[in-house]
Subunit: 335 residues, 2 copies
């Protein structure tokens, strides 16, 4: 029986789930996230109530985004980093934003065998990507789930996303620190990274720097260092670090955590950390509004009917895109 | 007397201006662009009529975007390139997108002394940036003026923009080839380029590679070449070229033109050129629609009144950005 059906059978009590979440009950957290992820209308209002109750208890964790192409070793890396943090007495939640999960059946965080220790640890909470048709929707659910995880007392929230499409941008907008995982050699430097991702990274870590790979990894590290020098200094005043690691041998994993700590020190002192969170909230407000405005427009029956012929007229150089836009906006006002 | 007032005094005859434009009369072209740039309602409709008449005569020129920080030598470079093209029998129009021009009184293309020869050549047409409050508005006017210039028989349209803010992105969306001008040394590699601009460039040209600067320019060239290697291959299948030039000594200017020609050959053969233009048209349609949707929303009296308190509630962690968005969308429907 799927989890939404389970949710439907029982009467969902928001105050009860809330109390259990702040009492750090993992089952309640899972249930709460299921409520947030539900697409049923009657769950929507309850989910919003739950989130609002949790809000004052949130905002205290550190949010870390991790991205990289499939095969780069995100899961093993999260396993290694997560266990290190747990050894230090922290509670770690791992969420994912994977817009392709609906089609592929959950490509990331699906293979939990790569997070063996983390899965079994009572200090870790692992949740695969919510499914959904639009990246905006998937991202929104994850953004809301962060609030629940924080209220449940998790100190570190790791958000994993796959290095394709627009998903990095939305994850970047919900984390404090953004880590790009790379592989050395095999021409990987040249392929597979979406333009702009390097520019969002607070650290680039070349994974699988073990065995015969070490030389190539160090070479890649030096290349990335040089390349990053060409970028202007970020508003955070933080110069992205480049490191190598091996999630297999655990080499360099503690360095990643040290980098993150230095980053937090720097940005908390210079005020960027706080400013960035405020701006992220504004981003989500504006983003949600504008997504909805566009959705309403493009799903207007008259627009659906007229848009193709307008596009054709533009390509045939009969009208400009501006005239077509004015016309479409006009007819969208007729109901 | 300013040009809009002149326009107002005479009766504007669209068919007459149109005939004169396709008869390659520069005065008519100027007048037509003034009509396009006018913010007066009665000019708007005439401008659209004129543009539509010109549309079938457009789309044949090559559109080149040139960007770079102030002081990099955009004007001298355009002077050198423009004169080279005229020597080869081409007609060259130079337009600008400068969203700051309203405030600064026209920072680019203003100093025509740097384009001495071009200004005097009958084969060149130079027009400073339209003024306007929004970049979208300024860009739109320039995008429409391109159509008029093309109908007037100009073979090459150069669009200059200053390397700050979002203006490169909009210029990139109206040109076939995008050139980034850089300076060597003085730490310029590290400063002043907005993130993402390097990734849009089809060529990076290090200007002022003359005298004592040559060594630094060659060093910068090699650095950029290495950096560009880290980027994935663009959809155009074109690997951005890095060159040095001196607009002062004319060294390397012909190389720029050769690069552009090779680019055109490559992208016309592989279909990207045509595909890109189609996509640019779609971009302008979507862009215009969405800008207007947002404008209407944020200027709704109820939204103007309510937005600040909602933002405050978000920052005080009373509500999520998503709840605030839903509330604002709801009240925007009340008129």
């Amino acid at each position: 029986m799927d989890r939404f059906m389970k949710l439907q059978q029982k009467e969902v009590s928001v105050p009860a789930i809330f109390e259990a979440i702040i009492a750090k009950k993992t089952t309640a957290l899972s249930q709460g996230i299921t409520l947030v992820e539900s697409t049923q209308k009657k769950h929507y209002k309850k989910a919003q109530q739950l989130i609002e109750k949790c809000l004052p208890y949130s905002n205290k964790a550190i949010r870390i985004g991790i991205t990289g192409v499939p095969g780069v070793g995100k899961s093993t890396c999260i396993e290694a980093l997560g266990n290190l943090l747990i050894q230090q007495g922290k509670k770690v939640a791992v969420l994912a934003v994977d817009p392709s999960s609906t089609i592929s059946g959950g490509s990331i965080l699906g293979d939990k065998t790569r997070m063996e220790l983390l899965v079994r640890s009572p200090e870790a909470f692992i949740r695969p990507s919510p499914s959904g048709k639009s990246l905006g929707g998937v991202a929104r659910k994850t953004r809301e789930s962060i609030i629940l995880c924080e209220a449940a007392g998790y100190d570190i929230i790791i958000i994993e996303t796959v290095g394709v499409g627009q998903s990095e941008t939305v994850v970047h907008s919900m984390v404090d620190f953004f880590l790009l995982l790379k592989l050395a050699g095999a021409g990987d430097e040249l392929q597979g990274i979406k333009r702009g991702i390097i520019e969002m990274a607070d650290a680039i870590v070349i994974n699988k720097a073990d065995g015969d790979n070490i030389k190539a990894a160090l070479e890649a590290k030096s290349q990335f260092k040089k390349a990053l020098h060409l970028y202007p200094i970020a508003e955070s005043n933080w110069s992205p670090e480049v490191h190598t690691c091996s999630a297999l041998t655990n080499e360099g994993i503690d360095d990643i955590w040290k980098i993150i700590q230095t980053y937090l020190d720097t940005t908390k002192k210079n005020g960027f950390f706080e400013r960035n969170r405020i701006r992220q909230n504004e981003f989500w407000l504006v983003q949600t509004i504008e997504e909805q405005l566009k959705h309403s427009f493009y799903n207007h029956p008259k627009i659906k009917e007229t848009l193709p012929s307008q596009l054709e007229a533009i390509q045939q150089q009969k009208i400009t895109p501006f005239t077509a836009a004015a016309y479409l906006l006009e007819i969208s006002k007729l109901s």
